[in-house]
Subunit: 301 residues, 2 copies
DNA sequence: TTTATTGTTCTATTATTTAGAACTTTAAAT
DNA sequence: ATTTAAAGTTCTAAATAATAGAACAATAAA
């Protein structure tokens, strides 16, 4: 009889919305989760959730047990954390939701570096640009590149990225290299990453603000794909610097109107569910990320 | 990792005062308890109690973990109990401390009857007349035949017993049958159960109080032994009625000065540790005992 | 110094838990 | 109405964890 584990399993089933998803998040199979739930119900002698193949509904007992379980799990975590030595080796699974390109290109390095310091940490990273519900997905942590929205999550800024404008020499030869913002006529075309950045803002020589919206040659939600298109001369690219910094350093792309462009800065946040108590290993990981990237991350141009 | 069980084990070690006794109370072997404790300490990364072969001392961490564990165990018990159906089958171990003669003669019947209603209940009864520390001994319940002392235990009266005076015909033939209290000269002798009842109190025909202290022929802390002695004519016996009622019914003993004697009534209590929450099966057992014996128990003469 | 008791460690045994497959059920799609 | 797909349950062999019992070490009391 493992009461805490039963509570954790039950909470995960409720929040994930299904036994199958709970099993995935708990790193096990649905038969194990199904069995745990039915044994728990048998032990308590009450049904906690009425289940059909597609839908779950909490019973009154289930609702009560869910709330109480949340509290107990939290309290036990706080008690154990208060004893754990600050400098002890970290261990356990960390489930993370991370954006695709940034995650694969930049976070994975950082995670590997953290993992070398703490070999008993197991990373379980889902790379996905969709906005995931941290609680429903059972994530400990999410990394988001965006201005902060209102939410019931706690956010900590780990670093930031700037939008830059660039193009390949091939493109610039063909369409002409703009020297002042006004050179960007509709002959030019852009590679669009995100509708939020469709219009570009500049400050011209007379300190006047200039906004320009070029025709779109290509749209994609994948930064790397746009980057490749830009290198092949597909258009002007306005993307976060962490995407194109390497191509620029290697001379595959060059900055365009850099002194005129109003560089939008986008913060990069670590988000975690609003528990009173933040697990030690998560806090240490976020500290590590803040340290790893810093104010002036290596992709800064 | 079973955090609640770890807490329960730790609490039992602390309260029992040793790993060996904790193991006995937990119905397992000391190697299992020792292993659980060392794994818990390993997991938490701190030492909870410094142990030598003879002595244990809680570390600061251990003190804190002990207090917190008590709270959590209690809270989890309350949560689960609030869900458990009132009419569901009872199960689990009940550890009881009971007095020797009353326990074997009377309680064991009642426990067997309860066990027939709830076959999944496992009784673990220690028959011992010594005053046991319920918390230290890890008992769920104790039965005590005595006026209530101050203590941090909760008491519920389940029934009562009266002191009666009796003797065998053999004795009365030899020493004479007293008709009024004044007939009890020092030629008579008593079989002494308990120093508290060395002096006997009567109300004589003139409504006058008479106290008499006879020479002691035999003293024992075991009621059955005194009973056998009395039947063999060893002396006048002043014991609780639950000890001698059968012998009286069978004519082996007969009441002496019954209309003159001031019958001391001794309450019989169920005692349990002062937890905010009384486990359902314990409450049901005590209810059963109250019902089983009632105001007029079957030993009433 | 001896003895008795406590705690630890080791290993074979026992009990529990899990993974994976087969099967059942039900809601959505055709 | 029929088919399809996804979710839940049940079953069993395999993996994992826990336990009992013995042997051993440590230490306080005799």
């Amino acid at each position: 009889m493992n009461q805490i584990e039963d509570m954790q399993t039950f909470v995960r089933i409720v929040e994930a919305g299904s036994i199958t998803r709970a099993a995935e998040q708990l790193n096990t199979v649905k038969s194990a989760v199904s069995r745990r739930l039915s044994q728990l119900e048998k032990r308590l002698g009450v049904s906690l959730l009425t289940r059909t193949t597609r839908h779950h509904t909490l019973t009154e007992h289930g609702q009560s047990y869910y709330q109480q379980s949340l509290r107990i799990i939290e309290e036990v975590a706080v008690i154990e954390a208060s004893l754990l030595q600050e400098n002890c080796a970290l261990s356990g699974r960390i489930r993370i939701s991370a954006p695709l390109v940034f995650g694969i290109e930049h976070l994975s390095q950082a995670f590997l570096a953290f993992n070398e310091l703490h070999p008993d940490i197991i990373f379980d990273v889902d790379f996905d640009d969709k906005k995931i519900d941290l609680v429903e997905g059972g994530y400990d942590l999410a990394i988001r590149i965006a201005k902060l929205e209102d939410s019931n999550l706690i956010a900590r800024k780990i670093t930031s990225t700037r939008m830059v404008l660039c193009a390949s020499q091939k493109y610039l030869k063909e369409y002409g290299t703009p020297v002042v913002p006004q050179d960007l006529t509709t002959k030019h075309k852009k590679l669009l990453y995100n509708k939020a950045h469709e219009t570009w803002h500049f400050i011209d020589d007379k300190a006047k603000s200039v906004s320009i919206k070029l025709p779109t040659a290509l749209t994609s939600n994948n930064g790397n794909f746009l980057l490749e298109s830009a290198i092949k001369g597909g258009g002007l690219l306005n993307v976060p610097d962490f995407i194109c910094y390497k191509a620029i350093k290697q001379g595959k792309l060059q900055l365009v109107l850099n002194n005129y462009l109003v560089h939008t800065t986008i913060p990069i946040y670590a988000l975690y569910p609003q528990n009173r108590h933040l697990s030690h290993r998560i806090r240490r990981l976020v500290d590590f990320l803040v340290e790893y990237y810093g104010d002036k991350p290596y992709w800064l141009i």
